[in-house]
Symmetry: C2
Subunit: 276 residues, 2 copies
């Protein structure tokens, strides 16, 4: 049986980069969870002595603080630096970019509008960089009674759908002299979905690895099942059943955005054992 990984699966570029940074900075602490995966955070603590601090005031001068992938609020970053903490920035570059845009546009006199979730750490961070403030919205309705300037800079949360972003753009453009639309959406999530769609059309069994509550993993599983009814959603190798693989010729494997490579590798090793 052939085992084939989806062209895109699991961690995105920014998460992989953050983990590498953490592994290179032993005896540091991340400010807040580095990524949304507790097993991986436990591994970093055990193997690399990278602990987790939830309150940034708990950092002491001389400590090493790793800034997580979603970024943090500008003022907190400045406080950390001013209090003598060594800051290692693991903010995803795709998040640093909208932070920079928010600051630059705000200082150039644009009214900054952010399409995203005000409560999400990424958006809290991006908004904090808009020197003269920014308006965060999730729908056109939230803009309807709002008075904005003639020149607008529009920024999106990296995980939003471009179709929904365009609704905001379509509302603003006819109503303002200039709308600078920054395409800050990152396609990683959608790339995983496209890849499993493609793979599930040619495989006769699909294994989707990820937390049972993980929304993006469930979406991958749902797409896989559409094309390949013999699809299975597991959290790790312990859930595999050798029965599934009987008479199968082509096994496709994918994983949710919060699934580390070592769990995926464990699953692949177990599949290989079960078919021999």
């Amino acid at each position: 049986m052939k085992i084939e990984l989806a062209e895109n699966y699991g961690f995105c570029f920014g998460v992989k980069r953050a983990i590498k940074i953490a592994e290179e900075n032993t005896n540091a602490a991340t400010y807040g969870p580095l990524i949304h995966n507790s097993k991986e955070i436990a591994r970093l603590d055990n193997d690399f002595k990278v602990s987790l601090i939830e309150d940034f005031k708990a950092f002491q001068p001389g400590d090493k603080a790793i800034v997580r992938t979603h970024g943090i609020v500008k003022e907190e970053l400045e406080d950390l630096e001013q209090s003598g903490v060594e800051v290692v920035d693991a903010t995803c570059p795709f998040v640093t970019k909208p932070q920079e845009i928010a600051q630059e546009m705000s200082e150039e006199g644009y009214d900054v509008v952010i399409f995203g979730d005000e409560a999400h750490p990424e958006i809290k961070g991006v908004k904090s960089y808009a020197t003269y403030g920014a308006r965060v919205v999730t729908s056109v309705e939230e803009l309807e009674n709002v008075k904005l300037h003639e020149r607008i800079a529009l920024i999106a949360q990296t995980t939003r759908k471009v179709e929904e972003y365009m609704q905001i753009a379509n509302y603003l453009i006819p109503r303002h002299k200039e709308v600078r639309v920054f395409n800050t959406i990152c396609n990683a999530t959608f790339e995983n979905q496209d890849a499993v769609r493609k793979l599930s059309k040619k495989a006769d069994i699909i294994i989707v690895i990820g937390g049972k509550n993980s929304s993006n993993t469930k979406q991958l599983f749902s797409i896989a099942k559409e094309n390949c009814p013999n699809s299975h959603h597991i959290e790790d190798e312990n859930e595999l059943e050798s029965e599934w693989f009987r008479d199968k010729k082509h096994c496709g494997v994918t994983a949710g955005a919060s699934t580390p490579d070592w769990i995926i590798q464990n699953v692949i090793n177990s599949i290989e054992k079960s078919i021999n």
Copy 2:
């Protein structure tokens, strides 16, 4: 009978301004027709000695050249100035603006895309200001096999419909890092249409004044007729029939974008006479 002018009618701001400039510059010549209305051009020649020169090379040092509302190509303007011709700029400010945007964006490294008619004098002018060139398109299809840079500046011809402009914006935004959308559309034409729509709902007769071949006048007439079947399209007061006004209480008057105020005033004077 009450006679009421539509809230918006006839010449737009830019045309009125250009005529005022011409009237203030006797013994000058316009380079190309100042506006698209031969009666008005004849009036300026007769009353203000403002003639019409079609070839810009015919201007002599010391001549006074009036630049028309649609603007001209940058190089021709520079040639005129360098050859000692006194240039009086009657370019509509709503056209000067996209010219300035085209130059600034091109020099800032943006790929300039213009939504408009490549053969129209306005667009020839605007395009000429893009120092490193610009692409002129009328539809999304024309962009499909085109390789553009990551940063786009989008400009529209002033008379285009915003819905069509948005189609271009919707195509470009998801495909590029940044799209700066400049809303350079002027609403004058649409304001005349909105105004006659409103007026024709309350009047019991509508007089639409403008050339029988004028496309925008015909549109006004068509809108008027929808709400007020007793609508009439005339070129001047000689076509009025007193019969039309019998037992009417409320006469609405509008005019196409190429109809000068003095023709409108002649019509209103004749209506007043015919009802007394």
